[in-house]
């Protein structure tokens, strides 16, 4: 020991460094835990709305805790509460292709007033069968779905203008317009894309298609609309300016630059006023929730107004952008446009005022199908080399920083977009797509956190077989260095997300539906009014649910071959007292009826017998007793319709 004192000393030193290091890591973890800890009974500071991707829904989470609060059913049927199964909600999923029970949701978008999220509505796109939905944030209920005709792959959608004048849609997959039979090989020049501007009523939120701009058949990928000085413009990124129709991974990645389309929608309004729009026959559906009758209504529409850039000068310009740009994001001031140059390691920052100058001075580098292509250098503010690999999307803070998600290098890079200097980078686990700062795409970001929305989790959580959860990660951005705080798994694919200060949504919360405002044609407001009526083979049961019984709870006189509609009105007028209804052998689902609401479940009994029904939502101490029977007699039986129960 005496011979090797330096050895012992160095070992001690290593041990000491190790201990200090471990203590530091522990302390870090403790700090992070403190930052995301929301004590029992306390509320989160932010609502976060994460798209469900291929589950077709929206996940509502609290931040900073990452707790899942609700799945809002939108484009996919939801047996949990009967969305898309109950007679009232079925029309919501009608399209020109019939009833569609599923879609792929990508981009939630909060309504804005003056460029700031206002907490009124949340919009989201359906990518597969192109549609836009509007969710009411008072009820967290999908209030409206509008189909987008002349489109394939509604991906750059539904981004909003500064005062939610419009939400936009675009075609990721160009198609023959109007749709017709033709060889795929004739794609070039024959397939077309559209930019759709969906007008949003400023009071009711009701959506209607104002106009569609017919554009060349490139793949339009993402969008964002201008704000402040750039209010009046929307920007759409794109890939495949090669217009290839097969093996796109190579064929659509040949050119150095693709484009961002800058669309002047105020100019579009002028052209429409001058009568330059053309009516075109098409078919699409507009489905909305009738609040008085408490049911969805489906309307078939048969024409849209088409604007052609050739007939409306100054409507669309193309900005050359390095290689297959993915995101296109506008900074809070509205002056800088930052694309994600997916296949390029260099990011170009564009200047809106330079763009206006280039248009004024006609600094064009040719055209694409008659649409002027602006000179790249004339619009460019800054080129930032070696940012990262696979930059996709950008969100902003209030301090002149932009945060870029980098899919391939699996990191977030924080950099200054005016100066073009990199500030910080943090690895994310793994393969980030979008990222989200609450209000980070608006004029006033609440820039406390950035949320990484990751596609791959691998070893981050306890494994669950081959199919693993995707995830979100919460990162503190208040300090000089970004700090990883929390991992949480998500439902479906958290594609894009929106976040908002909780109080803006809290103050709009609806707790119950008022019974006196329920004008559902089959609603009954007291046990005495309940009844069962027959019209041929159709039987309507108008029943009530209240703690802790259904009236009627004994129904006889149903026959095999009948179609029975159970219209259940929940008479409760207290918050958080839903009742459920399920009946033996129902081939659809159960329904979950909110206080004051009426919902209808269709039931076709197969064979004679006595079948139970019951309440599926544990509503009170006597929930188990909330049950009843339906007697089903043979088809030719002479059992008369009769019903009985409490209060009759």
């Amino acid at each position: 020991m005496k011979r090797w004192p330096w050895l012992w000393l160095s070992m001690l030193a290593v041990l000491a460094v190790g201990l200090v290091g471990a203590a530091k890591v522990k302390k870090l973890a403790r700090n992070a835990a403190k930052k995301v800890y929301v004590a029992p009974g306390e509320y989160d500071e932010f609502y976060a709305f994460l798209s469900g991707g291929f589950n077709g829904q929206i996940g509502v989470y609290g931040l900073p805790s990452g707790r899942l609060l609700k799945i809002v059913p939108v484009f996919a049927v939801n047996p949990e509460n009967g969305w898309g199964y109950s007679e009232e909600t079925k029309p919501m999923l009608m399209t020109s292709q019939g009833f569609i029970p599923w879609d792929d949701t990508h981009h939630p978008e909060l309504s804005q007033t003056d460029g700031v999220p206002d907490g009124r509505w949340l919009f989201i796109n359906a990518n597969n069968t192109p549609r836009i939905a509007r969710i009411d944030l008072g009820t967290f209920h999908t209030a409206e779905i509008i189909e987008i005709p002349n489109s394939g792959g509604n991906h750059p959608s539904p981004f909003t203008t500064q005062n939610t004048e419009y939400v936009v849609a675009g075609t990721r997959f160009s198609v023959p317009i109007p749709q017709r039979d033709m060889p795929i090989a004739n794609y070039k020049g024959n397939f077309k894309g559209t930019f759709t501007f969906v007008k949003v009523d400023s009071k009711t939120g009701e959506m209607s298609i104002a106009f569609q701009i017919l554009v060349p058949g490139f793949d339009y990928d993402l969008a964002h609309c201008g704000k402040g000085p750039s209010h009046g413009w929307c920007f759409f990124s794109m890939y495949n300016s090669e217009e290839s129709h097969t093996f796109l991974e190579r064929n659509a990645s040949q050119k150095d630059k693709d484009y961002i389309a800058a669309v002047n929608w105020k100019r579009a309004e002028e052209c429409l006023k001058e009568g330059k729009g053309e009516k075109m026959k098409t078919v699409y559906y507009h489905n909305y929730w009738d609040e008085e009758r408490m049911m969805a209504v489906s309307e078939k529409k048969t024409s849209v107004t088409i604007l052609k850039p050739g007939k409306c000068e100054g409507l669309v310009y193309y900005i050359p952008t390095p290689k297959s740009p993915h995101g296109v994001d506008v900074d809070p001031s509205g002056e800088y446009i930052v694309p994600g140059g997916k296949l390029s390691s260099t990011i170009s920052v564009f200047s809106f005022s330079k763009m206006l100058n280039a248009i004024k001075n006609k600094q064009f580098a040719g055209d694409a199908y008659g649409i002027p292509v602006l000179k790249y250098e004339a619009v460019l503010h800054k080129e930032v080399p070696n940012l990262c690999l696979g930059p996709l999307h950008n969100e902003f803070d209030t301090r002149g920083n932009v945060y870029t998600s980098c899919f391939i290098s699996s990191e977030i890079v924080k950099w200054r977009y005016k100066e073009g200097t990199i500030v910080d980078r943090i690895p994310v686990y793994y393969s980030i797509g979008h990222l989200m700062i609450p209000g980070g795409d608006s004029r006033k970001p609440w820039d406390k956190y950035v949320v990484a929305l990751n596609k791959i989790t691998k070893d981050r959580f306890l494994p669950t077989g081959p199919e693993l959860a995707q995830s979100a990660q919460l990162i503190d951005i208040t300090g000089k260095k970004m700090e990883m705080l929390l991992d949480f798994p998500t439902m479906g694919e958290p594609h894009y997300a929106q976040g908002i200060k909780a109080d803006l949504v809290l103050k709009r919360q609806v707790k119950i539906y008022r019974l006196e405002n329920n004008h559902h044609p089959f609603a009954v407001k007291s046990p005495a009014e309940t009844k069962v009526t027959r019209k041929g083979r159709r039987v309507d049961v108008q029943m009530i649910a209240i703690r802790t019984h259904f009236t009627p709870d004994n129904i006889e006189g149903i026959r095999v071959g009948d179609t029975v509609y159970f219209h259940v009105t929940n008479l409760e007028q207290d918050w958080d007292i839903p009742h459920g209804f399920a009946v033996y052998g129902a081939k659809n689902t159960n329904i979950l009826i909110m206080p004051g609401q009426t919902l209808t479940l269709k039931w076709v009994p197969k064979s004679p017998g006595v079948y139970p029904f019951y309440c599926t939502d544990f509503c009170s101490a006597l929930h188990q007793e909330m049950q009843g029977y339906v007697r089903v007699s043979p088809r030719n039986a002479r059992v008369k319709l009769s019903w009985a129960g409490a209060g009759l």
Binding site: I546, R547, Q573, S620, A621, L622, E625
Partner: protein, 186 residues
Amino acid sequence: MTRVKALMVVAAVGLALTYFFPLWSYRLDAPQYPEGLTMYIYSNRVGGDVDKIDIVNHYIGMKKIEDTHFTEFKVFPIAFAIFILWALFAAWKPSLSTVGSWVGVFTVFGVISLIDFYKWLYHYGHDLDPSAALQVPPFTPPLIGPKNLMNFYVVALPHVGGIGILLAALTGWISLILLWRAQRAL
């Protein structure tokens, strides 16, 4: 004498409050009702979360609390109107007889009302439906102050209208004492 006049006007004003505010309030707290349930008793009706309280009460077979059950709701507004006019008359012509009779009758009215109120409470807590799902020992909800009833913590308190009545009684009695003293001094 001006003091007595003023006090009797105050009594009238105190009683006038019963037309605008509840006389009594009940607040019920339970774990699953963090926001609490509140019931207000006005001179002519019950208000607040009565429907929600009825639903909770039905488990133990308590009767529904309905305005039509109470003749008091017809009597009270008229009685208060008479007492207000009477108090104003006493303020106009203050004497041992005008003030004294007002105080006497009003006090008797008050005591009878409180006994009546208690009897109703006793009735609601004791006359329970024997076929109710939950059988609980009979009880009397509190007239005033807090009490634990099953999973609820119940607090009964006079509301603005009730305080107006107490104020009227107090000012009436003070007026009477002042008048007595004035007479003895003569």
